[in-house]
């Protein structure tokens, strides 16, 4: 599944997610439900949120939720990969995090599959053995 498909599934499954962006720690965007500068701006803000939160406490940050009266911002981090999403006010936190993690993992399987398919040629199917009717 590619990033676009993972995000399409995410927005279909989770009605609470308004916008989402898949990106890496360098800020490179793999996919987004937003067009143009919106995606980059959301990714930048999400990365900044992770950095600032990381500076406040000790340890690796797995996820962040920031709630405001206008809506919430969710960021999930797995290794170098990130997903950020926005919702309306009072979202169901557990469900949103679950859906974001699923989308992040679904999009992660792509690169593995692509690497394998690029390097390994598909095996030719062997023709079925002919059964000798005369025997």
């Amino acid at each position: 599944m590619d990033a676009a498909q993972a995000l399409a599934d995410l927005t279909e499954i989770s009605s609470q997610v308004e916008a989402a962006v898949l990106f890496d720690e360098a800020g490179e965007i793999a996919g987004s439900t937003l067009a143009g500068e919106g995606a980059a701006a959301l990714a930048r803000a999400a990365e900044k949120l992770l950095e600032r939160a990381s500076a406040l406490g000790a340890g690796d940050i797995a996820q962040v939720e920031a709630s405001t009266p206008d809506g919430s911002v969710f960021v999930v981090s797995e290794g170098r990969r990130r997903i950020a999403a926005t919702t309306g006010p009072d979202p169901t936190t557990g469900l949103v995090f679950y859906d974001l993690k699923s989308a992040l993992r679904d999009s992660a399987t792509v690169s593995d599959t692509e690497t394998v398919s690029d390097t390994v040629k598909p095996r030719r199917k062997r023709a079925p053995k002919k059964v000798d009717d005369a025997a």
């Binding site: 308004e18 916008a19 937003l34 067009a35 919106g38 701006a41 959301l42 930048r44 803000a45 999400a46 900044k48 949120l49 600032r52 939160a53 406040l56 406490g57 340890g59 690796d60 940050i61 797995a62 996820q63 962040v64 939720e65 920031a66 709630s67 405001t68 009266p69 206008d70 809506g71 919430s72 911002v73 950020a84 926005t86 006010p89 009072d90 936190t93």
Partner: protein
């Protein structure tokens, strides 16, 4: 007399229910940042704390960016 007491009771009940609903809404709408760490621990920074004051403006920027179409 009985009707008056009933009316008073209804008014008091409504007032109480309204205040509970209002407090719940306000509590739910509070601004906060929940940070979850890799080891499974979590910390909440409530609005007004220096940590929340540093993080919430970034979250507002993110929301604005997502809604700017």
């Amino acid at each position: 007399m009985r009707r008056k007491a009933l009316g008073l009771f209804g008014f008091a009940s409504g007032l109480f229910a309204g205040s509970v609903l209002y407090r719940r809404t306000v509590a739910r709408r509070r601004q906060r940042v929940d940070v979850y760490f890799g080891d499974g621990s979590m910390i909440t920074y409530d609005d007004g704390t220096p940590e929340a004051d540093a993080l919430l403006p970034i979250a507002r920027d993110a929301l604005a960016a997502a809604r700017r179409r």
